[in-house]
C-alpha cells in the first residue's frame, strides 16, 4: 500500500512536468550548438548587440574581487553602446556543488555570449576546455597564465593587473600606522600570485618601517595565515572571521586582507568598537572601506573597466590575438577610473601626516626611483630570490617560489 502512494507520487510528478513542458518549451531553450553565422567576421554595424558574459567565482556583491570584476563589466556596458552583459556568479564547489566552469560557460554561450570572462585562477583548466570546444567565442581568463605557458587555445587571452604596486602601498600604509609593529596578512590560498602579493606587501611595509619610522626590520612582525581558498567555504577553509579575531587577540594591530571578501575590516572594526585599536587594509574593490570607515587605512583595488572595454571592442572588431597581459597603474594618476588598472584609495583612518608620507612613497614608485624588487632579496629558507645588485624581471616576480625571509607563515614551495 505504501508503495502505491509512492507510485502515485511519481506518476503525478511526471505528469506535472510533462504538462509544464508542453506549456512552455519554446522560449528558454536555446540550442548550445554554435549559432550558424557571425563570430569572427567582424560585425561592423555597432547597432547589432554584442553580448559578453562573465563567470565569477564568488558573489557579485562581495565587496572585493568579484565585485570589482562586476563593476568593471558595468563600466563596459556604460561606455560602449550596444553591449549586453550576462553573468553567473558563485561558481565554486561550495556554493554550486554540481556546476563546473565549463557548464557555466556553456550556459552563457547558450544565451548568446560572444566573449567570456572567467575571473579565477581556479578556472584555468575549465576555461581552456570550453575555449577548445568553442573556437568561435573569445575568452579572457583573468589572473591566469596559460597563454604565457603556451597551454591555452588561440581564442584565450590572459589579463591581470600589477597589484604588486597596490600591495606595496598597502604595506607602507600599514607600517606607517602600526603601533605594536605587528602586521597580519589574511591570506587566501597559496600559489605564485598570492606569494608575490604577500611579498610585495612586506617589501612596502619594510621599506616604510625603516625609512619613515626609522626602525630596524627585525622589529617588524609580519605574519600570514592562509585560509585555503579565495573566500570562506564553511567547513573547508579556515574561517576568516576567526582568523582575523585571532590576529587581534594576539596583538596584531593592522590586518591586511588578501582574500576576496571583507572579514578582515569587519572584525577590525568590531574590535575597535570594543575598545581596541586595530586597523585594516581591505583589498580588491574600491568601495571596500565602507565596511568599516573608522579603521580603514586605505584599499588597493583593481579597476578592470578600461581593460575590459578595450578587449570587448577588440573582440567585437574581431581583432583578437592570444596575449598575456599584466597591466600596471597609470602612474600619473593611479586613481583615474578610465586609465589606471591599479589604484589605491586612502582610508579615513590614515592620519594626514602618514598620508603625506604615503604620497611621497607612491611618488617614488611612480618615477621609478624606487624598485622594491631590487636585490638582495632572500626566500624564507635562505635561498636567493633576487641577487644583490639585480632587479627581478617579470617572470621571476610572477613565479615567486616562496615567501621572503622575515615573513612568518607557510610558503608551500
Amino acid at each position: 500500500m505504501r508503495n502505491r502512494s509512492v507510485r502515485w507520487l511519481v506518476l503525478a510528478l511526471t505528469l506535472l512536468s510533462l504538462i509544464l513542458t508542453a506549456c512552455g518549451t519554446q522560449p528558454a531553450a536555446q540550442p548550445t550548438a554554435a549559432p550558424a553565422a557571425e563570430p569572427t567576421t567582424a560585425p561592423a554595424a555597432p547597432a547589432e548587440e554584442f553580448t559578453f558574459g562573465m563567470v565569477l567565482v564568488g558573489p557579485i556583491n562581495d565587496g572585493g574581487w568579484n565585485q570589482a570584476h562586476y563593476e568593471g563589466a558595468q563600466y563596459v556596458v556604460e561606455k560602449v553602446p550596444g553591449v549586453k552583459f550576462i553573468y553567473i556568479d558563485k561558481v565554486n564547489p561550495a556554493d554550486r556543488p554540481n556546476v563546473k566552469v565549463e557548464q557555466a560557460i556553456e550556459e552563457l554561450i547558450g544565451q548568446g555570449a560572444k566573449l567570456i570572462i572567467t575571473n579565477s585562477a581556479e578556472f584555468a583548466d575549465g576555461t581552456n576546455i570550453a575555449a577548445a570546444a568553442h573556437p568561435d567565442v573569445f575568452f579572457i581568463h583573468a589572473s591566469g597564465d596559460k597563454v604565457l605557458t603556451g597551454e591555452a587555445p588561440p581564442n584565450v587571452r590572459n589579463l591581470m593587473g600589477r597589484m604588486e604596486y597596490g600591495k606595496m602601498i598597502a604595506g607602507c600604509a600599514a607600517a606607517l600606522t602600526t603601533e605594536a609593529g605587528k602586521l597580519a596578512y589574511l591570506g587566501p590560498l597559496i600559489d605564485p600570485e598570492t606569494r608575490r602579493l604577500v611579498n610585495s606587501t612586506y617589501l612596502g611595509a619594510r621599506y616604510c618601517w625603516e625609512t619613515y619610522r626609522g626602525r630596524p626590520a627585525s622589529e617588524l612582525a609580519f605574519k600570514v595565515t592562509w585560509i585555503g581558498f579565495w573566500f570562506n567555504i564553511p567547513g573547508v577553509t579556515l574561517d576568516p572571521t576567526k582568523v582575523a579575531n585571532d590576529f587581534i587577540n594576539e596583538g596584531y594591530d593592522v590586518i591586511l586582507s588578501g582574500i576576496d571578501t571583507t572579514e578582515g575590516i569587519v572584525e577590525a572594526n568590531k574590535a575597535t568598537q570594543a575598545g581596541k585599536r586595530v586597523f585594516a587594509v581591505p583589498y580588491d574593490f574600491e568601495g571596500a572601506c565602507a565596511q568599516g570607515e573608522a579603521v580603514c587605512l586605505g584599499v588597493p583595488y583593481f579597476n578592470w573597466g578600461p581593460d575590459y572595454k578595450r578587449l570587448v571592442e577588440l573582440a567585437r572588431a574581431g581583432k583578437w590575438e592570444p596575449a598575456w597581459e599584466w597591466t600596471g597603474p597609470n602612474w600619473s594618476n593611479i586613481n583615474d577610473p578610465d586609465t589606471s588598472m591599479i589604484g589605491f584609495v586612502k582610508g579615513p583612518a590614515l592620519s594626514a601626516e602618514n598620508a603625506a608620507k604615503l604620497d611621497e612613497f607612491i611618488a617614488k614608485l611612480a618615477d621609478g626611483s624606487l624598485n622594491l624588487f631590487t636585490g638582495p632579496l632572500f626566500y624564507q629558507d635562505g635561498t636567493v630570490f633576487v641577487p644583490e645588485g639585480q632587479v627581478a624581471d617579470d617572470k621571476t616576480i610572477w613565479y615567486t617560489q616562496q615567501l621572503l625571509a622575515g615573513i612568518e607563515g607557510q610558503s608551500a614551495p
Binding site: P59, N61, D62, G63, K90, A94, D95, K223, T225, W226, I227, G228, N232, P234, G235, V236, T237, L238, D239, T241, K242, V243, N245, D246, N249, E250, G251, T261, T262, V266, K270, Q273, A274, G275, A290, Q291, E408, G409, Q410, S411
Partner: protein
Amino acid sequence: MDQLWIDLAAVLAAASPLVIAAMGETLSERAGVINLSLDGTMLLAAMTGFAVALTTGNLLLGFAAAALVGAAVATVLGLFSLTLGQSQTAVGFVLALLCTDLSSFLGAPFVRVPGPAVPFTPIPVLADLPVLGTLFFRHDPVIYASFLIIPATAYLLYGTRLGLIVRALGERPAAVYARGVDVTRWRYALLIAGGALVGIAGAAFSLDLKQGWSYRHTFGAGWIVLAIVIFGGWRPWRVALGCYLFAALEIVATRSQSALPNFPTQIIQVAPFVLMIFVLALVNLASSPAAMRRAATLPQIWQRPLLGAINRLRATAPAALGQPFERP
C-alpha cells in the same frame, strides 16, 4: 599570562551561539524529543534574524524573528513526529536539509551585505576587574546571555518542579501521563522552547559573532551541537564545557599554521567532531560489560578511581529519547 586570559575570553565568546543552541537542544532532548533539524534551523534563523534586523534596523526584532523561526521549525517537527507519529530522525533530517536550502534561497539578496551588529557593552566597574573582567565582563549582551543560560538551564532541570516533569518526560513519559500531565503538549512546549533558543543561537551568529549572511553561514554548527549534547551527557554544565572545548580547539586550528610549516591546518577544523565521537566511543567501550568485568579483576587501588572516572564520563541518554509516546 595576559595572552592566556585574552584567549580564554575569546573562547568564551566564540562558543556563545553553540552554548545557546546546545541548551535548547538539551531541553528538548531531556523531554524525549531529538531535534535533528538543528543545522538547518540555525541557518534559517540566522538568515531571517539578519534580514529582519537589517530591514527594520532593530536588533531585538531580528532576534525575535530568529526565535520565531526556530520555534516554527520545531513546531513542524512536533507536528510530524509527535502528532503524526513519523520518525523524529527522518523528519528532523529532512527538515535540516530543507531549511538549509530555504535559507540559501530566501537569503540570496542578503549575502555579504553589511548589516547591524550587537554592540560591545562592557559592564561598568566589573569590566575593570583583573582577569575576571577580561574573561566575563568585556563582551556583548549575547555572550552575557550565553553565560546566564547555563545555570538557568541547570537550575530549571535540577532545581525546580518543572524540571522534574521535563526530565521525567524523557525518562518515562507513561509515569508522567499517570500523574495527569499531557505528555504530548508538554513535549511540544519544550521542543518549541528549545527550537526558539536554537533560533536565537542562529541570530547570535549572523548578528554578532559572524556578522552578516553568506551561504551556509553557520554550516556544521548544528551537527556539532547535536554531538556536544551527547558528549555532555545531557547535563547543562558538561554540555557547556563541551562547547568551550570545541571553541578552544578551533583557535588551535588558526594558531597552529605558523607553528607547523608543512601541515595543512585546515584539517584541524574537523578534529573536534571526530574527537568527540572518539571519546564517546572510548567511554562506551570502557563501560561495556566486558570491560567492566576486566576492570573488576584489577587491584582495588586501581579499581576505585578507574570505575569512578568511567562513571563520571559515562553519559546515559534519557531512557525514552526519540521514542514515540503511546498511552499505557
